[in-house]
């Protein structure tokens, strides 16, 4: 009797595994496409800015990060919080200062001039690289 029940339990385990692998497969098939991944979007969005920083030989230190809303004086949104983490990741090893203009370079979501800064690169996707004007 015991071997028979053991056999049934073994078959149940195999069936469980098959159903669970099916569950995993369903999850895999429901994944969003690679092109919609935020990290990839941000890497591409900041490609030109990274190159401009490299050309300026700015490979270490702090860099400001200013989304449009914060630049206009509005409170930071949750989305902007998440975006800051993605920007941080893309720009390693630079230290990306959230909502800050207090750095030699600033990445800003702005089409107009920002006081005290000159535009050194326009990514043509809403984001620009600004450099702090030298103080007299």
């Amino acid at each position: 009797m015991r071997p028979k029940f053991r056999y049934i339990a073994g078959v149940a385990l195999v069936l469980c595994a098959c159903v669970n692998i099916g569950q995993f497969t369903r999850h895999v098939l429901s994944l969003p496409p690679r092109q919609s991944d935020d990290r990839i979007i941000w890497e591409q969005r900041l490609d030109g800015i990274r190159d401009a920083l490299r050309k300026a030989n700015y490979n270490s230190g702090s860099i400001g990060y200013m989304p449009a809303g914060v630049l206009q004086g509005k409170p930071r949104t949750e989305r902007e919080d998440v975006d800051w983490v993605q920007v941080r990741y893309a720009l390693i090893p630079l230290n990306v200062l959230q909502d800050s203009l207090n750095a030699p370079y600033v990445i800003a979501e702005s089409s107009s001039a920002v006081d005290g800064f000159i535009k050194v690169y326009d990514a043509r996707n809403g984001w620009v690289l600004l450099q702090k004007k030298a103080q007299r």
């Binding site: 015991r2 029940f5 053991r6 339990a9 073994g10 149940a12 385990l13 195999v14 069936l15 469980c16 595994a17 098959c18 159903v19 669970n20 692998i21 099916g22 569950q23 995993f24 497969t25 999850h27 895999v28 994944l31 969003p32 496409p33 690679r34 991944d37 990290r39 990839i40 270490s60 983490v85 941080r88 990741y89 390693i92 090893p93 230290n95």
Partner: protein, 438 residues
């Protein structure tokens, strides 16, 4: 995907595994199968490669290849095992072929996950891959600048392996983190199955292996590029080696040295690994403890150096007073909340369509004909360490400086995932070897 990228990645993995094989063969008892040694060579090699990258960085290739040559020569002239048995002599019955087909199917799915989600989940890119980028991009300034990331105190086994892979590739390829995760996911499965074949029988090994393979969370999280599955593999490997030592080579020391190395690598993978290392040390006290300590020395030294000189203080210890911790410990509701959460998580953490726990326990209950396994010192040590780790996790929750419910919800599934492969091993070992089941 450019074929040269894949070839360079496979070369990086092959060098790791061969290094692991040569290094582990010095401690491998003559009577045990070489196939089993190859299985344990994967986590050993990964651990060694990570340590070499962390310690040497720039001359990494020189050190790796010099070590490979030296260990290879020593193996060829002195260590080369004389015989091999067990796995190599097995005929492949139907369950084996079925499992192989299931593994092939799952690998295809996992590669697709990596391709669609190359940067991994939130923790992966915000913590582990960020650390890897600092190691790779930042030259000698990384110890200072890595402080700018989240959880800069987390150990570096996984980030160092990822950065090492980029060195082999000559550039950053985000998928390497997921591919490394795939190697660890399969390595955990191989360690579980091989240990059960070595100590029990093929049929039990196949069934228990299928249970792990049929755990969607283990598969998904394995390639999500976080460090929980690598940690699970190291804890599993340490317990497996202690059990093999106890049942197959009780006279030697070698397997306990390797078990110590695995425990040290667990601590070098995630902070929870420190709990595992302490738990295994307590469970092994008095039984050739020095061999275990000798094995853990190298990864532990790297971890202590990292914690003392580079890592910032952990958020668990920062700005905390004894009075505050004592107040948390003296709150009975916290214990009830943790117990209730543990019970709920046990049922759901695997993200199963059907939870295999009940048929598994019935199967093992009906297979456990005598008390042979429970009398084994290895099984008792493994079960003791497992229980201590679980108790340690509960204690950390009790004293944690965060909202308890939030903390449990955000982390408990991952802690159970870390313990799932060792649990399956210890459960599988309870099953008795029936002659007809061969």
């Amino acid at each position: 995907m450019n074929p040269s990228i894949l070839i360079s990645f496979l070369a990086a993995i092959a060098v790791s595994i061969v290094l692991g094989f040569f290094a582990a063969s010095f401690f491998w008892p003559a009577g045990l199968s070489r196939a089993t040694l190859w299985v344990f060579a994967v986590p050993v090699g990964m651990g060694l490669s990570s340590l070499i990258f962390f310690v040497f960085r720039r001359p990494m290739f020189t050190v790796e290849f010099a070590l490979l040559l030296a260990l290879g020569a020593a193996w060829f002239f002195r260590v080369r095992p004389r015989s091999s048995h067990a796995v190599s002599t097995l005929q492949l019955p139907l369950p084996c072929l079925f499992l192989a087909a299931a593994i092939g199917f799952v690998i295809f799915g996992l590669l697709f996950v990596v391709s669609e989600n190359p940067h991994g989940d939130w923790d992966a890119f915000a913590i582990w891959n960020s650390h890897a980028r600092y190691l790779y991009r930042d030259g000698p300034a990384w110890p200072e600048h890595i402080q700018n990331t989240f959880h800069a105190d987390y150990p570096l086994l996984v980030p160092a392996l990822n950065a090492r892979a980029w060195r082999y590739l000559g550039r950053e390829v985000p998928e390497t983190g997921g591919w490394l995760g795939l190697v660890f996911t399969l390595s955990g499965l191989a360690v579980l199955i091989t240990t059960l074949v070595e100590l029990r029988n093929l049929r039990i090994a196949m069934l228990i292996g299928l249970v792990l393979l049929g755990t969607p969370f283990y598969l998904e999280y394995g390639v999500s590029q976080s460090a929980d599955v690598p940690l699970a593999v190291y804890f599993l490997s340490a317990i497996a080696l202690v059990c093999i030592h106890s049942e197959r080579a009780p006279g030697g020391y070698g397997l306990l040295v390797l078990a110590g190395f695995m425990a040290g690598c667990a601590a070098w993978t995630k902070n929870e690994g420190i709990v595992m290392l302490i738990a295994l040390s307590i469970a092994l006290l008095g039984r050739r403890f020095l061999a275990f300590v000798a094995g853990m020395a190298l990864p532990l030294a790297a971890n202590v150096f990292f914690k003392l000189t580079i890592a910032p203080p952990s958020e668990f210890t920062l700005n905390r007073s004894y009075a505050e911790i004592a107040a948390l410990i003296a709150t009975p509701e916290r214990y009830m909340t943790i117990l209730a959460n543990f019970a709920g998580t046990l049922w759901s953490f695997g993200e199963w369509a059907i939870n295999p726990l009940v048929p598994l326990l019935i199967f093992v209950g009906l297979s456990a004909g005598n008390r042979h396994a429970i009398r084994s010192a290895g099984w008792l040590t493994g079960a003791g360490a497992f229980t201590l780790v679980l108790a340690g996790y509960a204690a950390i929750y009790v004293a944690a400086p965060f909202d308890l419910q939030w903390f449990l919800t955000g982390s408990n599934s991952r802690l159970f995932l870390q313990l799932w492969p060792p649990f399956l091993l210890l459960t599988g070992l309870l099953a008795v070897q029936y002659p007809h089941a061969r």
